[in-house]
Symmetry: C2
């Protein structure tokens, strides 16, 4: 069977109505709600077809219909297509300029959660093809070295490394110069084994220390695998009874607290570029098991210099996709422009 124009109109009406009310919607409602001027009986015939096609389901006999995951899917796809044609609307809920990036991202998460009444998450930017700006070694004690690494976008990492041999101030100075002259401006991925070997050679008798320092650099970068994620409005899920039944709320809250799963969501999301950077996961499509009854909308922000991160909204399947997408786009652009200043 084919999804005729009329069927499409009816499907859209059903979804939109259900988003508003959260109640199964019946044929009579649609008959009035649309401007098709069809009787409820005709609508019923069409609805029977739509059900057969898998776009809507009946929670129980003699109830109205609600959209299936597939139904939401076509609704969202059509909506997204229409959105790309729309003129970009400028909103006024400006993010305040914040000195520190982490504060800004926290605030972003909060703003999104408040505006949408869903739960939100914002990941810190992942370093991608990022360049080293500065490596600073400082001698803390006889056998302890403080390593500070600054990368593009002023991302700072520290670590204190214990040394197997003792070291004096002069050596530290030499190593600083050695490392900075050879590594600055390099992309982190480009620090090869060959380069490391030649550095070690240059360091002479201190080659061990160079090795340890570079290990620390690698570690510091590697630590980004579990990157910071800011969340807000997790308690908004309590506004949607369908998410608080059973122990659904428990597992959702857990996901938000552990953040491990959100992390893999971010990683997965950054890997594939998309449609304006906006992606919609509906129900079972969700990559996170605990959110099989939610929808997740994500966007990718890009601060330049390969600094990308993910923003996401998590809510019930009957979320207001329009509003959410608008909000995400808006915040995305605001983030970009604030940072460029």
């Amino acid at each position: 069977m084919e999804l005729s124009e009329r069927k499409m109109t009816i499907l859209k009406a059903i979804v939109r109505n259900y988003l508003e009310t959260g109640e199964p919607v019946g044929s009579r409602t649609i008959s009035k709600y649309t401007d098709l001027n069809l009787s409820s009986a005709t609508i019923r015939n069409e609805m029977a077809d739509l059900e057969e096609m898998g776009y809507i389901v009946q929670p129980h006999t003699s109830a109205g219909r609600i959209p299936s995951d597939a139904g939401y899917r076509v609704y969202v796809d059509v909506m997204m297509e229409e959105k790309t044609k729309e003129v970009e609307e400028i909103k006024v809920n400006l993010l305040e300029k914040e000195a520190k990036l982490d504060q800004l991202l926290k605030q972003t998460a909060k703003l999104l959660a408040t505006n949408t009444n869903y739960a939100s998450m914002v990941s810190a930017p992942v370093i991608q093809g990022n360049r080293l700006k500065l490596i600073q070694l400082s001698r803390m004690s006889d056998r302890q070295l403080l390593v500070v690494i600054v990368a593009d976008g002023n991302i700072i990492k520290n670590s204190i490394i214990p040394l197997s041999e003792s070291i004096n101030e002069e050596t530290v100075l030499k190593l600083n110069i050695l490392l900075n002259t050879n590594l600055n401006g390099l992309e982190i991925e480009n620090i090869t084994l060959g380069l490391i070997a030649s550095l070690k050679q240059l360091a002479g008798i201190h080659s061990d220390i160079v090795g340890e320092v570079l290990d620390a650099v690698a570690d510091a970068i590697h630590a980004d695998e579990d990157l910071e994620i800011y969340t807000s409005g997790a308690n908004n899920i309590f506004k949607y009874p369908e998410l608080t039944d059973n122990n659904m709320a428990s597992s959702i809250i857990n996901t938000f607290e552990e953040k491990q799963d959100l992390n893999s969501l971010v990683v997965r999301n950054l890997e594939s570029e998309d449609n304006n950077g906006i992606r919609v996961y509906i129900g079972e499509e969700s990559p996170v098991a605990s959110m099989k009854d939610c929808s997740i909308v994500t966007a990718t922000y890009n601060l330049g210099d390969g600094m990308k991160g993910t923003i996401g909204i998590i809510g019930p399947k009957r979320m207001d996709y329009d509003k959410v997408v608008d909000n995400l786009k808006d915040v995305m652009h605001q983030l970009d422009s604030i940072y460029k200043k």
Copy 2:
């Protein structure tokens, strides 16, 4: 009326029974549960007294009794007294040694939550009377300076400060020496205005920069006002129906997500030293409004060098206080000893 020994026994039996079952407990149960060999009728008389004295309440006529906040209070007080007499028991759920303090604390929170089946929080240590170990300035660009501050306990803070005048490498080196020779080993509280003034004088034409750097130091320390708090097991509250009614769960989860209130709990807790460092807040005693229906048990850990933090367990009023106190004591000692190694 006086709280006779027999009344005390009955009260303890009621509390203990209610902790186990979560159901109001009746006279017949107590009559069997205790070894007093009294009939249910006698127990009823005593219970009427206990109710009049405010230690127990009836949720409704013809229901059993449950402990009031006051009832829990005497139970906990007696228990705590008995505990101090007990020999310290050594548990086996060792925390693994972790290189990084934040990892260790995260793990601690998780362990507590899993062991107790309540929600847990662990605050990062507050710096109290902490000494500066190292200040490291590095020139990032013409008008940007990277400041890295290391304090006792290897607490590291960075910030990048914009300068109002340009600066060269040589000056940075001088300032590094100046600051380190004058400030190292000083407690943060002891950096007085007088000292700052004399440093500025020593810096000569670069006095402005010294001012800016010291501001950054102050800022970095000040940022500790909202210190890191690790939480775990927030979803455990769903195991206790009395905490998930109404929108209680929502506000508890919110408190856990925002962490602002937990923060003030920590601060308040560190101010007053107590009874083994263990404190119990029951219901209305709670300093956090959203937890008026919970009990909170906190402990203070002390890593030495004035580094103290708070560990807390949040659960229903009918929590297993015994177990919680044991767990907290245990973890407290483990933290202390791990760090001393």
